[in-house]
Symmetry: C2
Amino acid sequence: MNTPRPTGEPPTSDARRPTIRTIAAAAGVSTATVSYVLNRRDLSDSKITITPATRERVIAAAEQLGYSPNQSARGMSRGRTDKICLMIEDFESPWTQAIVAATRRAAESLDKTSLLLLDRDWYSFLSRQGADAAVIEGGILKADDEPRLQQLATRGVQLILLHSAFEPAGFDVIRQNVRPAVDQAMQELASRHDRIGLLRRRLGSQALIEQAYRECLGDDQVNPALIRDIDVSREQAYWQSIDLLSGSDRPTAILTSNDLSAISALQAAHRLRIDVPEELEIIGFGNSPEGQHTDPPLSSVGVESPANQIADLLVHRLRGDAEPSERLHVRDFSLYLRGTTR
Amino acid sequence: MNTPRPTGEPPTSDARRPTIRTIAAAAGVSTATVSYVLNRRDLSDSKITITPATRERVIAAAEQLGYSPNQSARGMSRGRTDKICLMIEDFESPWTQAIVAATRRAAESLDKTSLLLLDRDWYSFLSRQGADAAVIEGGILKADDEPRLQQLATRGVQLILLHSAFEPAGFDVIRQNVRPAVDQAMQELASRHDRIGLLRRRLGSQALIEQAYRECLGDDQVNPALIRDIDVSREQAYWQSIDLLSGSDRPTAILTSNDLSAISALQAAHRLRIDVPEELEIIGFGNSPEGQHTDPPLSSVGVESPANQIADLLVHRLRGDAEPSERLHVRDFSLYLRGTTR
DNA sequence: CTGAAAGCGCTTACAG
DNA sequence: CTGAAAGCGCTTACAG
């Protein structure tokens, strides 16, 4: 027996949602026939033949009763959830926007639904609710998560990680080769400037910026007064920039951990009437679309279109293509010099 | 029979994910006992008693095998999905960020998972995949969606709509009473200015801004040269503002359809060395957090904390409280005068 | 104190 | 050409 719900529960006392059985009864056929018709299996599988009249009746009944299949039940018998899930750390970054768009595109072309997990417990979600595939941003993973990832992979979840350290193990890893381009950016600035500011964030790959900064200058040459910590918010970065640029011994160049803060720095410079790039050069990180439309356009370290690769990979993996047999995908970052550098 | 998957499918050939039966076998008990222990039913329901030793054995087995319950199966027998879903139109708006945060908070306190739907087919998702509750932003609804909403509501999905027109019908509607405050903003500007610019967006409640603008001025007084269309992107709004503010007959005040574009307008003014508020007053819409940290802080029409109400309502509805028996929730917008007005 | 069994709503191999 | 039946992995009333 089932129907009795635990007391105090939300009234899932549905106005009896129609099931495949309701449809079968209404159309005067078996549930198998309904399933075949609704999944078009009679059209694709020559072993199954349904008369057009029966088809019609089933379709009409389904329509009339407002039937839609219960995906939980479907998933259970097919072993597939038709969900693609995205797990990211920072909702605001343009990087993220691109990944969201790519995931959605891929899902649509595969006729699956795409979701963004809001809470942070990606493992619990994937192992309980399930998904056909998941794209996971490195920031939310910890070093000891690898067994969990492997487990999900062996259980059939197609996993794409954006991560700098994990090795592929049944899942794909997209690794960004960031350092050479950041080093190049830093050398570019160091060749012309003594006082180089740093807007620093210590999250994920953004931490590499600080490393490059320190290594290029040499640890003893690093002036803490030129370093500011930033977080997700634009305002915070703006005020940090105002602060950094207000002193008489202000930096004449700034390297930042992301484009968002670079844009804030640019706005701060405008506000303080500091000419960019003549009195201040700025290099961001991420090569985001928004940075290409600032005034002047932002110089930045990044890649051209970060997300297409993800979309393509998703589609291949979910179609079961053998194609990219390699599971590790390294992408080299480049330095894009635009208007905020000379 | 089940196991055979359709050919060409992703290898859901899981490394045999452990089921409740695996655990039962390992612990030498029945599946019922496993279910009771794992759901703590033996602790809450006095009719069910399990010996501590049995408990231990079950828990140990579950842990050791890395068991996690299949939510599809769970949902099917319990008639609950433990998912709260958010469906929004515009990812970038600060409004949205607040709603996301509120939904996540509510879900956490209810021990449910919270998701954001990326594709736009909310109805298909809710009727197929199911959810215990959904928050739907008005922008994605069409006028003829009402029967769908009712249907979902009668099937037990707790629905919270942010919408200006729908009447509650088994679901909650949060309605924003926007016009009085926008009218007030417009009168404020009109009392001091002849040339008032409009950054216009025609989406959802943002369209009300233009209505207020036109009605206050009178249709014959509207100068199309002072109106610019904006979209989601900050850059676009920035360039539109530069354009609007560059002529010699530029406006001396601007009303905008959202805070994002107001901030862009402010940046454009900085760039063009136009003093705000002395040479240009700006009023935004949304009263977003970011606007309160600009330089000077943005005057805006909106509400204090848009999202708490949503979170509270979600919690009440999902706990089955009778409490807010009223299904229509009207919130009055206010005009917040800050630094971008005199 | 514990287990066998029915049921949630689907899919599909197989037998008519 | 169509249907009865098993199975997906859970939950739970009920009988021991």
